[in-house]
């Protein structure tokens, strides 16, 4: 799994590439543990996330709760169909804004 972070239009974009499972989820957990100063919105771009298990969902929910408690907006974009199914079945699609692509996600923050 590879994690990258950069800023676009004042939004902190985190991309995750590969598999997010019990052996890799702590890496993303560490990465998302800190809410960046300045109240920028957070976007998790999962376009290259090929796999997520409940261990990955755990990290995503934790990060979403943390953002919410700091009054920071968090959204997710670009889920591949199988990962989208996992989000659906977990009821996450009703808790976290999910956008089809990065453009739509950035527009939602504007």
């Amino acid at each position: 799994m590879q994690i990258d972070r950069f800023i676009e239009q004042d939004v902190i974009i985190t991309t995750v590439k590969g598999r997010l499972d019990s052996s890799s989820s702590h890496k993303l957990d560490d990465f998302l543990a800190e809410i960046p100063a300045g109240n920028n919105a957070i976007l998790l771009d999962f376009a290259e996330l090929t796999y997520i298990s409940s261990a990955g969902l755990r990290v995503v929910l934790k990060a979403t709760k943390l953002a919410r408690s700091h009054g920071v907006a968090l959204a997710i974009c670009s889920l591949v169909p199988q990962v989208h199914e996992v989000f659906d079945v977990s009821g996450f699609t009703t808790l976290i804004p999910i956008h089809p692509d990065r453009g739509a996600a950035l527009a939602s923050f504007a």
Binding site: R19, D21, S22, S23, Y51, S53, S54, A55, L57, R58, L61, K62, T64, K65, R68, P81, Q82, H84, E85, V86, D88, V89, S90, G91, L95, I96
Partner: protein, 148 residues
């Protein structure tokens, strides 16, 4: 060529997951299993093997986990066994998915995911082992509230 059956055995250690996932990938690629059932297969194995390792051997004793996949043509039949403490994963109530973000508890989704995505599931305790059987259809997605 298809792999009609593969039977894997591993010690109850999470360090084994990488080899296990590689074996499942070899299976799904060799048999050209469509993406959806291939994902569900990996997810089911991942969740249940993790649970067995994490919760099944409370005293830290060494154990043996079995992963058996049978390719039936129109479905995959997955059988997961372990010699951990008796536990029926399908006996617990499903998690509450209705609350607000603040109310949602973290965790408790693994069994729910697998149960929802499987076409059928069963548990039995046999010869000192937990035996979980799952059926995953290879055709049109039959289970769950899955998107198209």
């Amino acid at each position: 060529m298809i792999i009609r059956e593969i039977d894997l055995r591993l010690p109850n250690q999470l360090s084994q997951m990488e080899k296990l996932v590689a074996a499942l990938e070899f299976f799904t690629e060799t048999c050209a299993i469509p993406p959806k059932p291939a994902y569900r297969l990996t997810l089911a194995v991942d969740e249940f093997v993790n649970n067995a390792v994490d919760y099944g051997y409370g005293d830290g004793r060494p154990g043996e986990i079995g992963v058996h996949v049978r390719h039936l043509g129109d479905a995959l039949e997955l059988t997961l066994t372990d010699d951990g403490d008796p536990f029926d994963p399908f006996n617990a109530p499903p998690p509450d998915l209705t609350g607000s973000l603040e109310e949602r508890r973290i965790g408790g989704l693994g069994v729910h995911l697998v149960r929802t995505m499987a076409d059928s599931f069963a548990y039995k305790r046999e010869d000192g082992r937990n035996v979980v059987s799952l059926r995953l259809a290879l055709g049109e997605a039959p289970a769950s509230s899955a998107p198209a």
